[in-house]
Structure formats: C-alpha cells, structure tokens
Amino acid sequence: MSDTTANGGRESALLRFLWKTVKLLATVALTFLGLLLATFLIGRVVPVDPVLAVIGDRAPQSVYDRVYVELGLDRPLYEQFWLYLEKVFTGDFGQSFLTKRDIVDDIRRVFPATLELATVAILIGTLFGIPLGVWAAVRQGRFADQFVRVFGLIGYSAPIFWLGLLGLLVFYARLHWVAGPGRIDIAYEYSITAKTGLLLLDSAMQGEWDAFKNVFSHIILPASLLGYFSMAYISRMTRSFMLNELAQEYVTTARVKGVPEWRIIWVHALGNAAVPLVTVVALSYANLLEGSVLTETVFAWPGLGQYLTNSLQNADMNAVLGGTLVIGAIFVGLNLLSDLLYNLLDPRVRRHA
C-alpha cells in the first residue's frame, strides 16, 4: 500500500513540475515581449533619424522618402512594433552604421569575449568570495574578519582602470608572469578555429595546448581584477548571510547533537545561506556580462562593453538596441537559472511555487 502512495506522489510531483515549467516559460515569454517593447520604444524616442543611419546624410530627398516607407516609418506605431518583432524573430537586427555588418554577426563576435572574461571572473569571485565570507563570519570581530573587510574594501573602492594599469605594469611589464593586452597573441590567433568563440574552450577542444596557455595567460589578469571586484561583494554578502544563519536555533540544535563545527558551518549554515547567495552571484555575473568598459579598454579586450560604448557614442542605434536586447536576455536567463537553483536548494520553495 505504501508503494502505491509513493508512486502517486511521484506522478503528481511530475505533473507539478511540468505545470511549473509551463508557467515559467510563459513568464519568460512575457518578460521578453516587455523587453522588446521597451527597446522598440527607446528606438523611436531617441533623436536619431533611422533613415539617415541607412542612407547617410548626402542622399537626395527621393531616396530618403523611399527608405522612409521601406522601413515602415509611415505606418502606425503598433504596426511598426509588429514589423520589429518579425525582424527580431528572424534574427534580423539590422546593420551597424559603424561596421557595416549585421548586428547579429557583430554580437556573435564581441559577446563570446565578454562571456569568457565574465565567466572566469565570476568563478574567481565565487571560489574566493564565499570561503572568505564564511571565514570572516566565523571569526566575527577578530583579525580574519577585519582582514577580509579591508581586503574587500580595497576591491570596492580602488578604481578598476588604475588596478588594471598597475597589474599590467607589475605582472606583464616587470615580472613577465602574464601576457599583455588582447585575448591572444597573433602567433596563435590562426592556430585555432573559432567554434564557440570562447578561446579557452576552443583551444582545449582542438588540443592546441600552447594556444590554451597563451589565452589563459591573457585572460587571467583582467579576469582576476573583475573577479576581485565581485569577490569583494560576494564575500561581504556571504559574511552577513552567514552571521544571520549562525545565530539561528538550528545551529544550536546541531551543536547539541555533537555535530562537528566544520559541518555546522559548511553544511548547516552555508546550506541555508546558499539560497540568498544564489541571487547575489547571479546578479554579479549579470553585471559582468554587460561588459566592463574600463577593463575592456585597459586590456584591449574586444568585448560587449566596448562595442556598446562605441555604438552609443556614434549614435549607432541598431547596434545599441541589439546589444540592449542581449543584455536583457542575459538578465532573464540568469533569473530563470537562479529560480531553478532556488528550487534545488530550498525545499520550501519547491512546495509553494
């Protein structure tokens, strides 16, 4: 009898899971629609003439009028939005005014650079930030706590371009520990074919270990700097979440049971602190994925931040809107991911969602 109830429980759990997935997807779709509407409206409001962006400012009036109609600018706004949606769904974001290439191709080129940098950075930030935060919380008010606080404060307050230049000066120019600006040395650039655009991944998959080493030595300094930034934030949040958890009664219960201190800290308290930490890490990651203009400039990193800044300064609206959409999609995607992680980490969410 207990068997049948167990099965019934599993079936309804499956149904519940499916229903939740459907709801989640619907939410994502709606969010995207809102995002598209927002970018569309921004595109209409900015004082940049989309026709001039296509034909240049020396074309005759007749060409202007024809393109005006071709772009659908004579139609009512909702029809224009519909046209915009159609284009976006076929992957057509228009052409860049600056590079004269499709926006999609441009983004395909610059986004992997940012993705790679951000991912290595968030790994560094999380792998150091969480243990440091835990350590500071456990040693609250003692030397370790002060040390982590000051270390984090420097990460917060030092301008990143300054740290970047200093890092280049010390580790590249003087000590020769790392490679300089750029993603890869020219010598290796053509030894790997771009598949994912993530050079670490591409070179490893193709067994080009020399190229891999070169890429790694290029990425480690900017990634460490960005990672230091997110580490400062993550360790601070970890510390406060952990202090909150360590003061809870269930920690006393565990102590009364004779559970060793390491397990109380890393399993009981961190298990609970992990739930809000997911949001913190996801937000840090999203921030990194937007591209950091300063870091990308200092390290000549051809990423999304540089691309967007350039486009914005040159009123290249198609590129700006395309990039905005990508960033929006990243936020939606990461929110989705953290929702799923919540489910995994917190049984209370599993029930109520």
Partner: protein, 277 residues
Amino acid sequence: MSALLTVDDLRITFPTRQGPSEVVRGVTFTLGRERLGIVGESGSGKSQTGRAILGLTPAPGKATAKVLDFDGTDLRAATPAMWRKLRGTRMSMVMQDPKFSLNPVMTIGKQLLEALKFGAGETRAEATARALAMLEAVQIRDPERVFRAYPHELSGGMGQRAMIAMMLVTEPDLLIADEPTSALDVTVQVEVLRILDRLVRERGMGLIFISHDLRLVSSFCDRVLVMYAGRVVEELKASELKQARHPYTRGLMNCLPQIEGGVRPLPTLERDAAWAR
C-alpha cells in the same frame, strides 16, 4: 541517589558597554535521575543556566562555577572535543520552537542520522532503523514519511516530537527541555509532555525542565527551582508548592487564575529589589 549533575555557584556574565552584566548569579543545585523544574520570568536566567550546563553560553558571554560536574566529568575543564562527545551522546536539549530549531533545508531523517553518526559508530542501515524506531517511540504514526519530510512539511506538534526523537535517539543521561511546549497549542502540549514524561521515566534520565509555567512544572516535575533575577530564590518539592514561603513564588501562585473563587482582577506581581541581592 548519586548526583548526575552538580552545579555550585554558577555565574554567567555578559560584557556590556556599562561593564559586565551578570545574568546568572550563583546558581547552585544538584540533579539525580529525576525531573527538576526551573521556573522564572523571562530574563531570570533560567535558559542561560540550561545552556551553560551544555557549554553553549553564547559568545561573548562567560560562564564560571565553583563546581560543574557531570557524572564525574569536570565540565569547566572540558575541551571542545570532549564537549562534542558529551553533547552527542550523554546530554541533549529540546528547544522551544521546532520552526526555528530544525534546519529547514535538511530532511528530518538526515538530521536524526546526524545525531547518531557523530555519536555511536554503527552502519547506516542500523542507524536508520534506530532513527525510525525512535520516531515511532514519540508516537509518530508514519515514521517513514516523517523521516523523508522537511521541517516545514510538519505541524508544530509533529516537529517537536521529531525534535524530541532527535535528542533522545542517542539515549542521553541528561535532557534539558527549554520551554519545550511553549510554542505549541494547548491540546498538543499535553500530548508532547506525556511522550516526554514517558521516555524520561522509562530510560531513567535526569531532566531539567525549564518553563515559565508554574502549574505545568509542578504537575510534571519532582522538584522545582524558582529563579528571579539570576538567582534561585526558592527550592522546593513540587508537591509542596502550596507551602512556598518566598514572596515571589507566592506572588506567582496568586497570579494563577482559578476557576472558582479566584481574585478578580488578578493581582499584579510584586517585585522587591532586595530579592535580587
């Protein structure tokens, strides 16, 4: 009866901005394998007394005593490793509210097994069997379901039973119950108390029952300590509560509402700074 626990001149001090503040001031008592109640209002130091016996005085508080002896072990000199061993196997504590005292992201089963894992050395299967038997002993009808459940999936009464199971599964000699029923409905309170009472008597444990409920304590314990402002102001047998002499205890008794012939309105509890001296 040989003493299981001897406490002499227990003092607990917390540093504050205005200098050290003593919240427990010279508590002395002995406990055999009996049920001792500690009553007092909030802030009287009863909970801190219980925690100090388990070595769980929260930092930056400090507990000192002339004697703090548990079955021949001097607790004042206990190292962290010794504490862990004692706590896991020989002394334990049931806390007030299972909503807070159980880890919300861990199943009851896992939390129960944890008590055994770091206590006695036995296989996982043996431990699971023992844990399930313990859940049955606290009158949980479907122990397997509760074993797999998370704390939020249980009612308050159910959670507190699971808590009691967790604390008794290693068969300790001393149990401290710190307001174990204050967070429960009145009807559930009686049930949980009955379970606790039966288990404590069957296993011949020493019990310290901490409560602010004088009537509950007197019906449930053999002896009662009345605490006020960090001191024991009176110690008496539960059956002789009516003959209490200390004005504070008398005051507490007078505050209990009577079904017939009681005083209305209930008298205000009188306090005298001299009692704290």
